[in-house]
Symmetry: C2
Subunit: 444 residues, 2 copies
């Protein structure tokens, strides 16, 4: 009897739990779902099949007992906890699957994991995860047909479906709000026409590329932190243009740029008096004083050089920055903004979210220059079974199933860029309606 | 026989050395000048009066010997070295004077220094130093006359004199170029009309205030990192408006803002291929690629939204970013920019630099609202005896003299905000032509 231990049952977990519960029932496996707040999961318990386990990483003994009893550990815990989980997996010789980036600390365990005959599969969710798998499938298809890649660009976004889109930002949170608020901090690095290019954070949201996605209309993409490692990871050495980015509805970035320009996303200092401030006062502390009284909207517009009827100002007005107490002591500006946005951009229970991914590959073949666009659109069911939970959870679940079935040969710290890993995952995802649409054109 | 040990004989030291050498001769003291590169100082040696000493902090034994033999240590070494120098001063019971900020590490030695009967006088140069002394003199003058301060703003700049101003930035380096390149990074914090205000780095050089300084024309000021501690330091608790800033010639900041916007001042990552780059390629890596060939000047203008005849673009063109190898391995963007600017903004041997300081104090008195503006302008003699070296060195020298004469009673870690310290210094500075000009007006 195989035991799966799933750690972390937050926003991205519901679809994975359903998938693994079905698999466990069919295959005669057992699933333990461990989470700090396990009460809301008790209704999922199924004697002999699914056990709900209130546990935190702080309970080191309990955690080690559970890992010892498992055949496979899946972690959807925050990425920062993965090094300790991975070391326990090494100690008790257990395979590990996560949807988080393979950090340098995790990569350092590669040799030891190989030696112990273990698979540490990282980046097995949506982004990172499905992005790698579908990118590699498209790249390999072109390479097998003799094409020479000249450009690879890839964008992913967790958004809101048009039918649930009720705000001028055209955005709601389907995953960790903090990551959205801090997105892009630092300097973005990518390849363009053979040159390494840098975009500082305060320019990032002005440097967007418009993207048409199937019949959904125009989106926009901004560059992720560092695209250069994907030359090696995707087997694209020598490619002149390479960029991985994030996708938003048109107009989002230009308005978000204004919040960055104000300084509201700073996370490197604390507002000493944040507990005494209202959201309005918080905003005021980033605006110069004016000699004559003016509305806050006028002052924002004047300071940022925005027209009174601009789309950016509309979006900022909608945030309202109400004169209500923030009630967060010693908060950074980013934490205050996150608290406000969490309220404004919350998915209502029946809202459907939307995951959109697009790869754009340009290549030379038969003396012509081609473009292959591969697009994915996934709708959520509601605020619980989100598109985000599907596209993070199902790849993880399918890889877990195949691992327990002995169908994955790789060992060590691995990301799913191997054809024998991603091909069956992509095939099974199609049964769940997760399918890329390809468009081909000759561009010159 | 009193012994003075001066550590560090860089750009700010020449005038201090001359002053102390004269004092030593008059008072029968001895002066030892220790520097890593002491050769260029040998011509100053004067048997029995001034000894030149090749020494670095790495030579711990030699350094401790010298400190042991001194009655007073003056350090113009980089601020990062002051904690170790201060601990040796504590160990060997020696007074210490520096022109650097009193860091938390230095402040932590206050109790021990007091107990040992030692003066650790920090911030005794220009900025910090003379700024505190002259600000306190002006504040005390208003308070003594019964005025109630409503605003205090203070700006200092190390610039180039009009007769030596040969470039469109109206700027040359009279002190550490690295500090100029990194100036303002982080978030500036100040008080305006009773509110704490924040300015993120990427807005800082757009938020300038025009300042008329005597007959020298218009300058502009931008906010320093954190003005709030000066409420306590200057005895200004409850003041609604408080800002300390840096002063530049008009137009400098708007053009510097463009370099910041490009990302050229970033110091938090390394250009891995910097050794293979030219300055032109360095600039290119911050510009998006364009489909058609264009001059680099056009591309900068398009990207930043600058008119072809704008003053910002003129200044950027003058920097030229030549297609020459940078020859700096593993450099940050800021280090590359510093190398280019060091060449472009170098003082020629006969150039005169200019130190400008202005305090603007607003206060209520006799039912009216007044403004007192106190301005200082100091010209350098040449590229060696700069205004910077005068205004850093002379306050340090005068305080050193008075300390050795037993005229300074304070002990512990002290900055020169006490009337019995700054009044004699300001008085003696007038003999050297360093004198504030006051302008008074009733504003309402």
């Amino acid at each position: 009897m195989k035991n799966i231990l799933l750690l972390g049952a937050g926003r991205s977990a519901p679809v994975l739990i359903t998938y693994l519960r079905n698999q466990a029932r069919q295959q005669g496996w057992q699933l333990s779902v461990g989470d700090a707040m396990a009460d809301h999961l008790q209704h999922l318990a199924l004697p002999g099949i699914l056990r709900v386990l209130p546990i935190t990483v702080a309970d080191e003994n309990g955690m080690q007992q559970e890992i010892m009893a498992a055949d496979l550990v899946i972690s959807l815990l925050p990425a920062a906890l993965h090094p300790v989980i991975a070391r326990w997996c090494l100690q008790y010789k257990k395979h590990l699957i996560t949807a988080s980036y393979a950090s340098p600390e995790i990569k350092a365990l590669d040799g030891a994991a190989r030696e112990a005959g273990l698979l540490f599969m990282m980046e097995a969710g949506l982004d990172p995860g499905l992005d790698h798998m579908s990118a590699m499938a498209a790249i390999q298809k072109i390479k097998r047909a003799g094409g020479v890649l000249t450009a690879f660009k890839s964008y992913t976004g967790g958004l809101v479906a048009p039918e649930s889109d009720t705000n001028p930002w055209h955005y709601k949170f389907s995953w960790n709000p903090r990551n959205v608020v801090l997105a892009g901090q630092g300097t973005a690095r990518y390849l363009e026409q053979g040159q390494v290019k840098f975009i500082p954070y305060h320019q990032l949201f002005k440097r967007v590329e418009p993207l048409q996605v199937l019949s959904l209309g125009v989106f926009e993409g901004y560059a992720n932190r560092d695209s250069l490692p994907y030359r090696d990871a995707y087997g694209l050495s020598g490619i002149p243009t390479l960029l991985r980015g994030t996708l938003r509805r048109q107009g989002f970035c230009q308005a978000w740029h204004q919040l960055v320009a104000l300084g509201l996303t700073a996370d490197d200092y604390v507002l000493e008096n944040s507990e005494q401030l209202t959201y309005r006062q918080f905003l005021e502390s980033f605006l110069p004083a004016t000699p004559c009284p003016q509305t806050w909207e006028q002052r924002v517009a004047d300071y940022l050089g925005l027209a009174a009827d601009s789309a950016e100002l509309d979006r900022i007005k909608w945030l309202a920055f109400p004169p209500e107490a923030i009630l967060l002591p010693q908060a950074t500006p980013a934490q205050v903004l996150e608290k406000l946005l969490t309220r404004k951009w919350q998915l209502a229970p029946d809202d459907k979210d939307l995951v959109v991914m697009q790869h754009i590959l340009e290549y030379q073949s038969g003396g012509k220059h081609h473009r292959l666009t591969a697009s994915l659109v996934v709708r959520g069911e509601d605020a619980r079974d989100t598109a985000m939970a599907k596209t993070v959870g199902l790849p993880v679940g399918i890889i877990a199933k195949r691992m327990l079935q002995g169908q994955i040969a790789q060992r060590g710290v691995v990301i799913p860029t191997h054809a024998d890993i991603y091909e069956p995952v992509l095939a099974e995802l199609e049964h769940f309606g997760i399918r890329f649409v390809e468009e081909e054109e000759v561009i010159s």
